[in-house]
Every structure is written in C-alpha cells, then in structure tokens.
Amino acid sequence: MLDFFFEGFIENINLQDSSNWAKDFFQNVVMPRLPEAVAGHLPVEVGTILVMLVCAGIFVAVVPLLPLVLVLAERKVAARFQNRTGPMRVGPWGTLQTLADGVKLIFKEDYIPPQGDKILFMLAPYVIFACSFAVFAAIPFGQDILVSEFNIGIFYIMAISSVIVMGVIMAGWSSNSKWSLLGSLRSAAQIVSYEIPLGLSILTIVMLVGSLSMKEIVASQDGGIFTWLIFRSPFTFIAFFIFFISAIAEVNRTPFDLPEAESEIVAGFHTEYSGMRFALFFIAEYANMFAVSAIGVTLFLGGYEGILPGYDFLGGLPGFIIKSLGLVFIMMWLRWTLPRLRVDQLMNLCWKYFIPISFFNIFGTGIWGLIFDTDDVWSIGISCVIIYVGLISAYAVAGRNLARKPEPQPSSA
C-alpha cells in the first residue's frame, strides 16, 4: 500500500517538466558533493523529495517569524500614531516583547468551555492557522524562492484562504457563547461577501496575463514600474484598490473588524480562547495580513521584479518584502485612524459598490484586451495617461466637494 503511494508520488514528480528546481539542485549541487557510496545508490527522485522536505522545513520555520515581527511592528506603529513609545522593556527597544508574550501565552491555562463542543473548539485554531500558512506555499518571494510552483497558484490561494472562514465558524459555534456566535456569523457573512470582489479583481489580472500561475504573473511584469499590472490598464488600477480594501475586509481589520469588534461583541469568535490557542489566532491574523499584502504585490505591484527594467533595484526578495511591508503599513495606518463600519454598511459597500464596479472592470479589461496588445508600450502609455487624467479629475471633484461642504458646526443660538 505504502509502496503504491510512493511510486505514484515519484511518477508524479517525473511527470513535471524537467525545469524542476529541486531536481536540478539535487543533481547539480548535492549529488557531486555526496560520497560515492551514497550517491550511487540514492535515486534521483528520493533525493529530490529530500531537498523539497528540507526546503519545506526551512519555510515552516521561517514564516512563523513574520507574525512575530509584524506584531511588534504593529505595536510600534500604533505607539507612534498615539504619542507613545510602545513596548520598551523586553530586549533592546522592546524587540523581544512578542517573544515574551508568546512564552506567557504558552504557560497560560488552556481553558475549554465545558458546555462547548470540545473537539471543534480544539480544532478551530489549527484550521485557521494551517490555512493561513498554507497560503504562503504559493507566494513567490523571489526568482527561486517559492515552495511550490503550481500552474494554478492564485486559484489555490483563493481556495485555501476561503477555508479560514470554516475555522472561524467552528470557533464561534463551539465556544457556546453568544458573543462568539455573533462574531463568527458576522465574520462568515463578511468573508464570504468580500471574497467575491476580491476574486473578481484578481480575475482582471488573470485575463490580462492569461495565466493562473504566480510565477508567470510576475514574469509578465519584468519591464520596470510601468509594466506592473496596476498600470497596464485603467481597469486594473481600479481593481487594485478594490482588491486591497476587500483584502482588509478578508483579514478582519479596521475599518472592517466587526467579527472581533471589541466595543460591541467583546472579542468576537475568539472570546473564549486563552493561552496558546488564542496565540494561534493571533499569529494567523498577522500571517494573513502579510499574505494578502504579498498577493497584492505579486499581482499588481510587480512581485519580486524591480522598479527599473534590467536593474535589481527594489527587486528580488528584499524588494518583495519591502513592497509587502509597505502595504501592511497602510493596513496598520488605516487601523489606527479609522472607526468601524456597521454590519449593514459593510454589506452595502460590498454588494452595492464593489461587486458592480468589479464586473465593470472585467468587462472593461476584456475590451481593453481586444483593442490593445496589453504589454505593448502604446497601451501602457495610454493607460497611464487615462489613470493620470482620472486621478486629477477625481482630486478636483473631491476638492470642490470638500470646499463646498459647510463647516460642521451647530450654530449657537
């Protein structure tokens, strides 16, 4: 039975094209360095799997560090916004604060509500945690820094990230708390709704590039900043903003943080969680935040490609990380500035504005693709001019409206 599985697996690997990096790596780098006795008897397929496992191990070890950094960053950013210093005690400049918090959470009591559904309660954090980390498998961090190259990368990401809502509902239901239930149902409604504009704006990209593979999407943006897909057509420009706002809603952050609205429903779906299980939710939230930013960068902002064609300036892994962290920073900025929407307003925004605009985008992208050869200089030029004119006129209209807006002051009698 095991043999059968193993053979099938090896066959599958063989079926992939010869440009499998793990295989290349094993054959060209590892094989010559191995002792003769081992190298002769080690099949290439097993070696390839070993290389993949080692890489996966590194990935699993490194990616959870991201939330550690992001939590500290969030606290420091929030502190700056609020005239505070943030954590300063643990480690130099408070750098070890998150670690200390993690240690504290590990030692806390793992409380399970006796009236709740124990199995679901214990399972829920892992579902969310696993899903939000599985997303990273398809994100290309750099030319060769990619856990798995699918030809349906973005589709896989959409599929996996929508499983998160299952975990949220499980957590809310199994807690046997009314606040948790309210929070989880809010979350379910919100995530399911916002997945539609999110998917539709990704579709515009897929239409332009003609591929679902993350690597190919990035490869089509290798000609510097103006070949980034956000500037390719006016419709992708709009799509980027819809994508980003929907992504904020997907990861439940202010102004869309209704599922965990502290002032309304205490802590939402994770009200009853404590200790390490709570920490898993927390880590997953920040991992998610980075993941959606990274997806946004990959799809719209050139991925690991640099700003200038042919140069590596702001390219590669550092460039990718910088761009993603930029988007993460905008999310933090919004969180510490804006109040929260109400449930009906949230749904209005999604169903009455974002989805129709997204459909218009898809329609427009189709027509754009009919008229222009999309990576042609002319089409990019025309697109940039349209975006520029649109932005200027939007600014002018907004400015006039703001100027006309009366000073909101009840007059004194």
Partner: protein, 401 residues
C-alpha cells in the same frame, strides 16, 4: 380547502420566524461605561428590545449622607460623577449655601475670589469630562487613537487639578463657603501667577487641538455614517424623559442653566450655548447621536472662552473661604440645580437645624438620560446600542450613586 392551505403556507414562507436571542450586555462589557447591564433581545443583529438594569454601583450615597455632617458629605459627591467631580462638589455646596443664606441671623457670603476659582476649576473640569466622553465615544465607534489623544490632554488638566487640591480624580476641593486651602494660592503670589500661566499655556495648546479632533473624528465619513441619523431623540422626547445638558441641547432645545438661571458669577461671562441643528448637507438630524456628540465638542470651546475671560481679568484678592464657624443650616428644605457637564445636577436637602441633614437626594442627569435608552434603541442594531450609550455619555457612578 387545498387552496387556503397553500396560501397559508405561502404566508408562513414569506414571514419566516426566527427565535429571538437574549443576550446580556454587561455588567462586565468593554463599552457599557462602567457596570451597566443591558438585557438585549436580539433578532440576528437587530435589537428588538434593550432593557437597562442598573444598581451595580449603588453605594447608598443618600443614606450615608443622613449620618454625616455637611462638609463630610462632599467627598461622597466626588464619587458620584467621578469624571467631573469638581462640578459635583460644587453642586452640593451650592445647595447647602443656599440653605445657609436663608438663615438671617448670620451674614454669610461666598468670597469673590472663591467664586472665580470655582468657575475656573469647574470649567476646566468640564473640558476634562467632555474630553473623556469624546475619547471613549471614538473607541466605542471603533477608532482607538482619539482615546489616547483625549487622555493625553486630560492628563495635563489632571495635573492642574492636582496642583490646586492634591488629588487627580476625587478632589474634595470646593467646600461649603469657598474652596479648599490645603495648597495655598496666595493672592498676587508667584505661585498664583505660575498657576494661571500654566492654565493659559494649556489653553493655547488645547484650543487648536479641538479642531484637530474634529478633523480626525467628527468629520470622518465612517464616523458620521455610524452616528448621523441614528437614534434620533426629538425635543419633546428629550424633555419628557428629563434629559438635560448636552443631551437636551443635542435635541435642539436651547437651555443652559449657566445662562438661563445664572448661579454663582456666570452672569459676568460671555459665552455661547451650542445647540444642535439640522445639517442636511452632511445628513445630521437634530437629536441624533452625532448632534449630542458635537454639542460636547463645541462646549469645550465655550469653556475655553470662559476660562480665558477669567485669566484676562485675573483672580480678585481676598480670602477663599467664608467666615463660617460651623455648617449648621436653619430648619428647612432646598432644591438647587446646577449645570454639570452631563446636565442638570440637582440636590434636594432637608435640614432640621442640626449639623446633619435629614435627607439628601441627588438628581442625576445620567439617570434620566439613560432611561431614554430603551425607547431609542428599539429596532436598531447591536452596534447602534454602543453608539447611543456613548452619545448620551453616562457615568454609572452617577446613575447609581
């Protein structure tokens, strides 16, 4: 027969019945401003009924007062509205002083300097109270940052209070017949000048900040979406529930005791009374959450105006305490009301001529405003309940006493 059954089933389909969920909001809840318990009957997110249950912070203020001498009651008033304790002290002292004035055998008058100090401190206290209200309201709606901005500024005010009475929250500063002399503020001394300079410095810093807060929160479009047109309390309803202060003025009733029934020396100062009005361009309706909130924001500016006038005049010379051997009001009863930050604060005192009152009753503005919650919240959403509680600005210490 068959056709009727079909119609019936159609009717049932069109009106699906869902169970109502009863949820307890509070007494331990992040945004019930203390220990208010709300019994919510929810249909999904929609609130069918919100029944407030109070009494979790009841400390028998009125009964305690019957066993204490008049000056000993003042610290208890501190614990009523602990956000605006100066105004509570003052409200009680005003009532007792009114009772003392009825005694014709003694010539009793609060010194001029004490009156100025009282107005100065109480208007600053009003700013502190409204700042807290502004900050927590932002937090209720979901914006965290205004809360810390408000506390940053309130901190400076608390330091100013600390310099004059040694306490930050429960002051016991305003006494019957004047103000406390624990930390002496000699007329014309360097200490007095420094103190007034410090207040001026604060006002210069704070006045532009109000506009900044208006930019940050008041005119934020999400904030106005959440508060404008929500929970409209018309003028008749506000009056019939006995809502006072910013809640009443937020409903468009032009009524402020400081101007309409001037007590102390309020008739010497010029200030406007902010009253809400419809702003159709923005969507604000008189009596909605936004109007109540905005009245508070504008009142801070008016308080700044009053304090500036005092600073321009300077404090008059003289004692800060009336020549009062013992507080022993004549037989009689009194009801006196003053304008605290949250509305009309009234004290009803019955005296039998002994140093202890027979009966003390506090009329709490928050209690009256809170009673309107049940009617205001019907048919709104859970998030709106939070918006209402924040906008009527309750302090549970005063509701329960």
């Amino acid at each position: 027969m068959e056709s009727t059954q079909q119609t019936e089933s159609r009717i049932i389909e069109l009106k699906p019945f869902t169970d109502e969920m009863i949820v307890n909001m509070g007494p331990q809840h992040p945004s019930t401003h203390g220990v208010l318990r709300l019994e919510l009957r929810l249909d999904g997110e929609i609130v069918r009924e919100a029944i407030p249950h109070i009494g979790y912070l009841h400390r028998c203020f009125e009964k305690h007062s019957e066993n204490l001498s008049y000056p000993q009651i003042i610290p208890f008033t501190d614990r009523m509205d602990y956000v605006a304790a100066m105004n509570q002290n003052w409200g009680f002292c005003l009532a007792v002083e009114k009772l003392l004035e009825a005694d014709e055998t003694k010539d009793f008058e609060v010194p001029e300097r004490a009156e100025y100090l009282r107005v100065l401190i109480c208007e600053l206290n009003r700013i502190a109270s409204h700042l807290l209200s502004f900050g927590t309201y932002g937090m209720d709606i979901g914006a965290f940052t205004p809360f810390l901005y408000a506390f940053r500024d309130r901190e400076r005010l608390l330091l100013l209070f600390e310099k004059v009475c040694g306490a930050r929250l429960t002051y016991n500063y305003i006494r019957i017949g004047g103000v406390s002399e624990i930390i002496p503020l000699e007329p014309g001394s360097v200490a007095e000048q420094n103190y007034l300079d410090e207040i001026e410095e604060f006002l210069d810093y704070f006045e532009p900040k109000i506009d900044e807060y208006n930019d940050l929160l008041t005119s934020n479009s999400i904030f106005s979406e959440r508060t404008m047109g929500v929970a409209v309390m018309p003028a008749e309803m506000a009056i019939s529930y006995g809502a006072t202060g910013p809640n009443l003025r937020g409903s468009g009733v032009d009524w402020d005791l400081r101007r309409d029934e001037p007590y102390s020396i309020y008739d010497r100062f010029e200030f406007d009374v902010p009253v809400a009005k419809d702003i159709p361009e923005l969507g604000a309706v008189v009596g909605d959450c936004w109007s109540r909130y905005k009245v508070r924001m504008d009142e801070m500016k008016e308080s700044v105006k009053i304090v500036r006038q005092i600073l321009a005049e300077g404090l008059p010379d003289g004692p800060v305490m009336a020549d009062l051997k013992a507080v022993r009001p004549p037989q009689g009863e009194i009801y006196f009301r003053s304008e605290a930050p949250r509305g009309e604060l009234g004290f009803y005192i019955v005296s039998d001529g002994t140093p202890k009152p027979v009966r003390v009753k506090g009329r709490s503005p928050c209690f009256s405003a809170l009673s309107a919650l049940q009617e205001l919240s019907r048919g709104l959403m859970v998030a709106d309940i939070i918006a209402i509680i924040g906008s009527i600005d309750i302090v549970m210490g005063e509701v329960d006493r």
